[in-house]
Amino acid sequence: MKKINSAKILFIVSMFFFSFVHADSPYVDKELLNAIEKKYTPFAKKRFFYLQNTLESVKNESDIKKLDAVNTFFNEVKYGTDMQVYSQKDYWATPWEFLSKDIGDCEDYVISKYFALRYLGIDSKKMFFTYVRSTKFTEPHMVLTYFATPRCEPIILDNTNRKIFPASKRTDLIPIYNFNAELISETSKATKKEKSHKKWDELLLNMKKKKI
């Protein structure tokens, strides 16, 4: 990966997060929407209006309602492997690529849900990217887990299940490993290194480039 200045990255990431938590600003700005329309179709742009409407509808609701709304919205997107969509074995799409193309794999759902929930003001420390094994299929899988408190049972946001459930209800999933984006950001800030998580770092760089 191309080496970039760590301070710049941290600044951009901070600004990026700031834009998500600033509820008065739209989730996707107008300029980017026009670019998405130009590259894809007006329908793609329209999907972002629907997303904005969804997010606006729950912005003053409880975390659970926000989780449910976001999970439901993104689970409408079609599933497609990275090989099918991006001709790569494993690719983490930006939220704009995911919704513009209207197709993606499990990581893409998790990423989009994560940033949408960040926009809605959910504490990033409560959300984990969790690698799981599904008893229903053999491919590696990822879900977004939400911990209301560090010690309580997490809620699973999964693209294979339309509803959100507590972990104990998801007996089809076996947790393997999880990471918290906030912890990665803190580590990056402390070490002044942009290399904290290969795929995460790559994703942030693509988002900085506003890859659509």
Binding site: R151, P175, Y177, E186, T187, T191, K192, K193, K195, S196
Partner: protein, 643 residues
């Protein structure tokens, strides 16, 4: 500082700054790479260990063991597991250990091992966060090795770079060296022309060389013009146009060389010869035939005198001639005069003239070196007057016996004693630049102080020394004395010493001086000018060239004395480039303006000063100044108020 050094210094500094910058950037990059490697290792460990810890369902004992196993088998500064509320569950930290790198390096490298973190879960539950920090000691050692390698590489690079730079500069500035040599030669009044193949290709250098070549050609042309003019004037000044013999002026200018205390000859015969009956001869055979007769007579004189070294045959006026014969006795001179008389008579007869009407009268005067020119001419005239009255037309006038205070043996004893016991001492007087009112240089002379306390001046002892053949020994002795035990009072001054023809014109002297200068020249506390007689200088011999190289090597200037401008070519002045030329006051005063201008043109071109010697009074000084001669020696120097 030379241009080469300046450019080399600037480029070297520039090169070293670049190399140092690259070295620093390389080192910083290596430092960053090492730190990134430390973080990467820690991150890998954190991820893999957290995955392993996640499989033990939160069993603290197993987790501690797994952390211990990882910590002990790897290079870590610390591994810690904290729970979700930041309380430490288990922690391992490295004991402080010494690092095998110098302290200064630890201070400048400053490696900070970043802490990598990973979440640890037990099923869906969070156990906490695992923090891993790599050990820096190995990183320091690795970085120190990289630093040393970089330093060696860059030192070699710098060395090679500077060597190439030096070679390139030397090649680029090579033409400049020649330009510099030419410029220095111009400053020394030497005429060096760069040949066409030596004209540099660099435009600026080429322009400079072409400019200097043009200037040198002009100066050379000026010198040649002066040389030609002086030669032409010499012809007019010194040569009798009919007989091609030297004239009266030449004789007068030349006589001081014979009538001096350190003359190489103690004396001899001056023949004053008059041809009587010329008017009648002209009437009988005409001017042309009489002139032809004069030429015949001149040839007879030359032929008869040529057996004597340093003879002078000159035509004094229309009917009178002089033959100066150093080291010639009265008896020999009488015999010679008779031979001349007879030979000339035959020529007169051959012209159809009567030898009783047209005949020679020969006055012989036995002169010695202590006499003046006026005395020599007066006594010679007396001898001629008497000869005209005598039947044989030949008369020998003996010189008045000079009363010798001491005999030759007494002098030999005194001088030998003085040589053995170093009884010679230097005294000095001034050569003064009357225009600047400053001392031009100090003139060193000698005195002899006997062990009985009696002091003899140079004028007293050098004449006898010449006659007993000890003058060369005296010069050798005083030269050794001057270099080996120099007079500290003369420190930082400019001093001249006059060396005789006899002393200098010897390879033994050259060898002796070479050795002497090699050992002592650097220690001489004053600047020295060695004066060479014009007679030796104009020979332009190989020996003189050796002296020139020798003196230049030891930064000793040369001067010329007894100059009367009698050379057929003044190229030798260009070769020798003396600091000055010394001539008798009478010489300068009797030269016409064209001759002096031509001499000035030559000396000014070569940067040579003209110095008049034996200036005795202010009137003479004024006359010299009118002729643009401003540096003088003699009594008159005492009358000048120095600034």
């Amino acid at each position: 500082m030379t241009l080469f050094k300046q450019i080399a210094l600037i480029i070297s500094i520039f090169l070293l700054v670049i190399l140092m910058t690259v070295l620093t950037l390389n080192f910083m990059s290596a430092n960053q790479a090492v730190q990134e490697r430390l973080y990467s290792d820690a991150k890998n460990t954190a991820t893999s260990l957290s995955l392993s810890l996640g499989t033990v369902n939160g069993d603290i004992a197993i987790m501690s063991t797994m952390i211990n196993a990882n910590f002990d088998s790897g290079n870590y500064l610390g591994i810690s597991l904290v729970d979700t509320e930041d309380a430490i569950i288990y922690e391992r930290k490295s004991e402080t250990k010494s690092i095998d790198v110098p302290d200064w390096f630890l201070n400048i490298a400053k490696i900070t091992a970043p802490v990598a973190s990973a979440n640890v879960s037990a099923g869906w539950s969070q156990v906490g966060i695992l923090h891993v920090q790599s050990d820096t000691s190995y990183a320091y050692t690795q970085l120190y090795t990289i630093f040393k390698d970089l330093l060696v590489s860059f030192s070699l690079l710098a060395l090679i770079g500077l060597s190439i730079l030096s070679l390139l500069l030397a090649a680029v500035l090579k033409p400049l060296k020649r330009v510099q040599e030419q410029a220095e030669a111009v400053a020394r009044n030497e005429f060096i022309l760069q040949s066409s193949e030596n004209i540099p290709h660099t435009k600026e250098f080429r322009d400079v060389v072409l400019g200097m070549n043009a200037m040198v050609k002009k100066v050379q042309a000026m010198f040649n013009k002066g040389n030609e003019e002086l030669k032409r004037q010499k012809e007019l000044e010194y040569i009798d146009p009919t007989t091609k013999l030297k004239n009266r002026k030449y004789l007068i200018d030349k006589l001081p060389e014979y009538l001096k205390i350190d003359a190489s000859s103690k004396g001899g015969i001056n023949m004053l010869i008059a041809l009587g009956g010329v008017i009648q001869a002209n009437e009988k055979i005409g001017h042309t035939a009489v002139d032809a007769l004069f030429v015949d007579i001149a040839n007879i004189f030359q032929a008869h005198a040529s057996n004597y070294e340093n003879f002078i045959v000159s035509r004094i006026n229309a009917t009178e001639f002089s033959i100066l014969l150093p080291e010639c006795s009265g008896e020999d001179a009488l015999e010679l005069a008779e031979g001349i008389f007879d030979a000339v008579n035959l020529s007169i007869l051959a012209c159809g003239l009567d030898i009783h009407e047209t005949f020679l009268s020969i006055g012989l005067y036995e002169y010695n070196y202590e006499q003046t020119i006026a005395q020599l001419f007066t006594f010679s005239d007396n001898a001629l007057s008497k000869a005209k009255l005598e039947k044989s037309h030949i008369h020998l006038e003996k010189a008045n016996d000079t009363t010798e205070v001491m005999g030759k043996n007494a002098w030999r004893e005194i001088i030998n004693e003085a040589l053995l016991t170093n009884r010679f001492h230097f005294v000095s007087w001034k050569a003064v630049d009357t225009k600047k009112r400053k001392i031009a240089h100090k003139v060193l002379s000698l005195i002899l102080q006997t062990n009985k306390g009696k002091t003899y001046s140079y004028g007293q002892f050098m004449g006898p020394a010449n006659q007993i053949g000890l003058s060369t020994s005296i010069y050798a002795n005083v030269m050794h004395m001057m270099f080996k035990t120099p007079n500290i009072k003369l420190k930082n001054s400019l001093c001249s010493i006059r060396l005789s023809l006899e002393y200098l014109d010897s390879h033994e002297t050259y060898k002796d001086l070479s050795q002497l200068l090699k050992e002592y020249a650097a220690k001489l506390p004053f600047r020295l000018i060695i004066e060479i007689p014009d007679k030796l200088a104009r020979k332009n011999s190989e020996l003189l060239k050796l002296y020139k190289i020798l003196f230049e090597k030891y930064n000793i200037d040369t001067g010329i004395y007894e100059f009367i401008g009698e050379s057929g070519d003044y190229q030798y002045l260009q070769e020798l480039r003396p600091a000055y030329i010394k001539g008798e006051t009478s010489y300068f005063l009797t030269q016409n303006s064209q001759t002096l201008s031509a001499l000035r043109l030559i000396t000014d071109t070569l940067g040579i000063s003209l110095i008049a010697t034996s200036v005795m009074d202010t009137n003479t000084l004024r006359e010299l100044q009118m002729k643009d001669i401003h540096i003088i020696q003699g009594k008159a120097t005492e009358m000048i108020e120095l600034s």
